[in-house]
């Protein structure tokens, strides 16, 4: 296959960026999208040009590192698929493909297609955990958990933190990401103790990071490679409302 790529190139966080056109020649349909970019980069290196910077690591759809907007859609629009698991057999010979980074105020571009998603880490640091230290925990089977709850918690916990939800949202809202963690922990008895404080702290941090509001358009769910359901946002809203009513238990957990 031969393709034309229009790729966002940006030297660093401070410089302005622009779209640059490249040819991707002799692409094999069995290649993954990132392997196609590898081929283009080898060509650039051979010509002494700087390769296109893009993030990836596991290349099997689980680490959440890859983060490309392909033809205007985060991860390229194949249901439940990260960019690294998207294969070229889904494209047509001769096609033009645009490739851009996540675009959101809270995810500044560092270079080309690489963005800074540190805001997600800071949201988890604000409360996305159960406050247990290592050691002294009860036997794992001491507390039965209904299979439905545990399965539902797992559905939420499957989030890979890639940020596609933010990139897809016209308001750059992080609600799907936050709701996944809040729901995962609130559904399990181990996470219930701190549920009020947790949701308040996480939402507060989310707002501080400058993410937008949720207007329930569902574009986040549509691009989510782990198909995290919009229902979790409804659950987040309920959790948040309840926590506001009940009030915080003290502002931050103390050590």
């Amino acid at each position: 296959m031969n393709l034309t790529l229009k790729v966002w190139r940006q030297k660093d966080a401070k410089s302005p960026g622009r779209m640059v056109e490249y040819q991707a020649a002799n692409i094999i349909p069995d290649m993954s999208f990132l392997e196609m970019l590898d081929v283009v980069n080898e060509g650039l290196i051979a010509r002494g040009e700087e390769p296109i910077a893009f993030d990836s690591d596991c290349r099997e759809g689980i680490c959440g590192t890859c983060s490309l907007v392909i033809n205007g859609i985060a991860h390229g629009g194949q249901r439940g698929t990260t960019a690294c698991q998207l294969h070229m057999r889904h494209f047509q010979d001769g096609q033009t493909i645009t490739i851009e980074p996540w675009r959101a105020k809270s995810f500044p571009v560092l270079k080309d297609l690489v963005t800074d998603r540190g805001a997600f880490d800071r949201i988890i640091q604000a409360g996305g955990f159960v406050s247990v230290n290592t050691g002294g925990t009860p036997d794992a089977n001491a507390l039965p958990v209904a299979k439905v709850d545990s399965d539902r918690a797992m559905d939420a916990a499957a989030c890979i933190g890639c940020g596609a939800c933010v990139a897809a949202c016209k308001n750059a809202s992080a609600m799907l990401f936050v709701s996944a963690k809040v729901s995962h922990l609130a559904l399990l008895p181990q996470g219930k103790v701190e549920r009020n404080q947790r949701v308040l702290n996480m939402v507060q941090q989310m707002d501080a990071e400058g993410f937008g509001n949720c207007t329930v358009t569902g574009s986040c769910e549509a691009v989510c490679p782990k198909e995290i359901s919009l229902d979790f946002i409804a659950r987040l809203n309920r959790e948040y409302g309840k926590a506001l009513l009940k009030g915080a238990t003290g502002h931050k957990e103390t050590v």
Binding site: S32, G61, A157, Q190
Partner: protein, 637 residues
């Protein structure tokens, strides 16, 4: 070099408790005075950093990904072992210990493995308390599955995403400590050098991968939790970024490297489809619970799988190893697949594959159940190959997956360099010559949550918190060295890309030092690697500059280290004149093709000691003595 494993005296089952009692403690107020540098945020690094911060130490944690949550541990699919005996099928600490020793082909340390089995039960408790959503039964209790090399069900799992859930548990514990200000996290930062002051590890030199700035970090101890070196083969199931840099540069500063030739080839991976491939994808071993491995009996049989009648199929593992069947350990299953492909009975492109068939399981259990158990793996298979494995059997082939070798450590997980601790896949300690499935996650978390936090205290208790200063000449020198290396890489400006060197090295390693190794093939590799390395330093082309985000430069540094490390791996393989576990020397096999171990001459750990550039390394031997188990010939028949 004097290697002292520091194994406590006394009966095996009591060693760890006794040691815990005898170790010196650091009082809580003094813990605050000690700085610990943790390189790596996978299961081992994140659990260690979080736990040490909880104890009161001041921790700095580094990783090269943009977030600690993305460490390669995230990719583990199948599960984690623990001797809980929840299945009531006769499991016990002793049985997990014995299975691991036997699975490792009697090349690991008894005392370490026993301790691992002991703390395995605490890991599951810890993870559940953190909110890890392990799979459960309808009654609400945890459920288990079976993994290779065991006849009991002791593997805990979270769908096909066990590593992800365990890592998120450890990551969240780490985040909690970052939030409290007890851990300072450095994502997108790569360790380039270890700093040794007066014979003790006192810090690191690291490069900020965004700004390119190279900086020095001092501490009272350094912990490497930097994962395995499987990417020396270029194609492996490891993430693209996995590398040997941290442990290799520590080796060059005096930390012995143990058993580099013990590499694990996983039997069930998606076969290579072409030269463009950048990595291989694992299909979890858990699939062998229900999938049956077979190949056509006839050579060159090109009929589609469903047109090959039952009596013309060879269910190779069930035939060769009736008591373990499709759950034979990895090294054995991999070789069995290679054997039939070498005979010309392989399937798929190039004849490099065997079938993993679920037709019987679907009949026995229903399509729904198979979907529930393995749905995400079938989807992944479909994405990569475009084939529906519910309809036609999967094609699988062995691929490099895990590395048992690593930095030599004693019972306290301290390397031969005082103050340098190494945990997780980066060390060599518990898996001998072959790791059993679902035991790496167990080891990483055992090291990080339950072992290192104690043993590091014992080290500190005999030290003064003498804050090494980054203005010390050793730091200055290491800073200069690291800067000079990056500059040198950028200045070569040759004709070949970094990847082309990596790919060539990987191919060489796979062919000459992969599933089967011979004196001849290893000598060929040992002749070729230095040539390739010298070509690299003359002709590599690294683009861009040092003062900014430069992925080409990052890769170049890693490949430069692989090009040195590969030689040690082959040398180790050549020196070990026996077959054991993942190390198969064609000269050493029984007439039926089974591995021939030589306990009389090779029951030792090979710990290699660096002697300086261009000088051959020295081989130190740590004898392996078995007080409790009898070294038997491993049989899974």
């Amino acid at each position: 070099m004097k290697l002292d494993s520091n194994i406590p005296s006394g009966p095996l089952a009591q060693k760890w408790d006794k040691h815990k009692f005898e170790m010196k403690l650091v009082n809580p107020a003094n813990k605050r005075k000690f700085d610990v540098i943790v390189v790596g945020s996978g299961l081992a690094g994140a659990s260690a950093a979080a736990t040490m911060a909880e104890l009161g130490y001041r921790v700095k944690c580094f990783c090269f990904q943009d977030s600690p949550r993305r460490a390669h541990s995230i990719a583990a699919q199948g599960g984690i072992n623990a001797a809980k005996n929840y299945a009531n099928d006769g499991d016990s600490i002793y049985r997990l210990f014995y299975d691991t020793i036997k699975g490792g082909d009697f090349r690991s340390r008894e005392a370490n493995v026993y301790r691992l089995a002991q703390v395995s039960v605490n890991i599951i408790d810890q993870c559940v308390a953190q909110g890890v959503p392990f799979a459960r039964e309808y009654g609400g209790l945890l459920t288990n599955r079976s993994f290779g090399g065991a006849q009991v069900s002791r593997t805990f799992y979270a769908r096909g995403q066990t590593g992800q859930q365990l890592l998120l548990g450890a990551y969240q514990a780490l985040c909690r400590q970052i939030g409290h200000g007890n851990v300072k996290m450095y994502p997108r930062t790569e360790m380039l050098e270890l700093v040794v002051v007066d014979g003790q590890a006192k810090g690191i030199i690291a490069r900020d991968l965004v700004t390119g700035e190279i900086s020095a970090h001092a501490g009272d101890a350094v912990v490497l939790a930097t994962g395995g070196y499987g990417n020396v083969f270029y194609l492996s199931t490891n993430a693209k970024g996995c590398n040997v840099t941290a442990t290799w540069r520590a080796y060059k500063k005096g930390a012995a490297f143990a058993n580099p030739c013990y590499t694990q080839i996983h039997p069930t991976c998606i076969p290579v489809s072409g030269d463009h491939q950048s990595k291989l994808t694992l299909m979890s071993e858990s699939l062998r619970n229900d999938g049956r491995v077979w190949a056509p009996k006839k050579k060159g049989d090109t009929r589609p799988a469903n047109q090959i009648p039952e009596d013309e199929r060879d269910y190779l593992l069930e035939r060769k190893y009736p008591s373990f069947g499709n759950l034979a350990p990895r090294d054995i299953s991999s070789r069995a697949a290679k054997e039939v492909c070498d005979e010309g009975r392989g399937v798929g492109p190039g004849g490099l594959g065997v079938y993993l068939d679920f037709a019987d399981a679907i009949k026995r259990l229903s399509l729904e159940t198979v979907k529930e158990r393995y749905g995400n793996l079938f989807e992944m298979y479909e994405k990569i190959t475009g084939e529906d494995a519910y309809q036609t059997p999967m094609r699988i082939y062995p691929a490099v997956h895990y590395t048992m070798g690593g930095t030599w450590v004693d019972y306290n997980l301290m390397s031969s360099l005082p103050g340098l601790f190494v945990i997780g896949e980066a060390n060599f300690s518990d898996h001998g010559a072959n790791r059993l499935g679902a035991s790496a996650l167990m080891q990483g978390l055992a090291d990080g949550y339950f072992i290192l936090p104690y043993t590091i205290g014992n080290y500190f208790a005999s030290q003064k918190p003498a804050k090494a200063n980054v203005s010390h000449p050793e730091f200055k020198k290491a800073l200069e060295d690291a800067g000079a290396l990056t500059k040198r890489l950028l200045s070569i400006n040759g004709k070949r890309s970094v990847t082309s060197f990596h790919r060539e090295l990987g191919k060489l390693m796979w062919e000459k030092c992969g599933m089967a190794r011979s004196t001849e093939s290893l000598k060929e590799a040992l002749a070729r690697i230095p040539e390739l390395r010298s070509e690299f330093w003359k002709n590599v082309k690294v683009t861009g500059e040092t003062g900014s985000l430069n992925q080409d430069l990052e890769a170049a540094g890693r490949v430069a280290d692989f090009l040195e490390f590969a030689e040690l791996l082959c040398l180790d393989a050549l020196t070990r004149e026996e077959s054991c576990g993942g190390h198969f020397r064609v000269e050493h096999q029984y007439p039926d093709g089974e591995a021939k171990r030589d306990d009389e001459h090779f029951a030792f750990v090979s710990a290699w000691e660096y002697q300086g550039p261009g000088k051959p390394p020295v081989l130190n031997k740590e004898p392996l003595t078995y007080e409790e188990v009898h070294m038997s010939t491993r049989s899974y028949k």
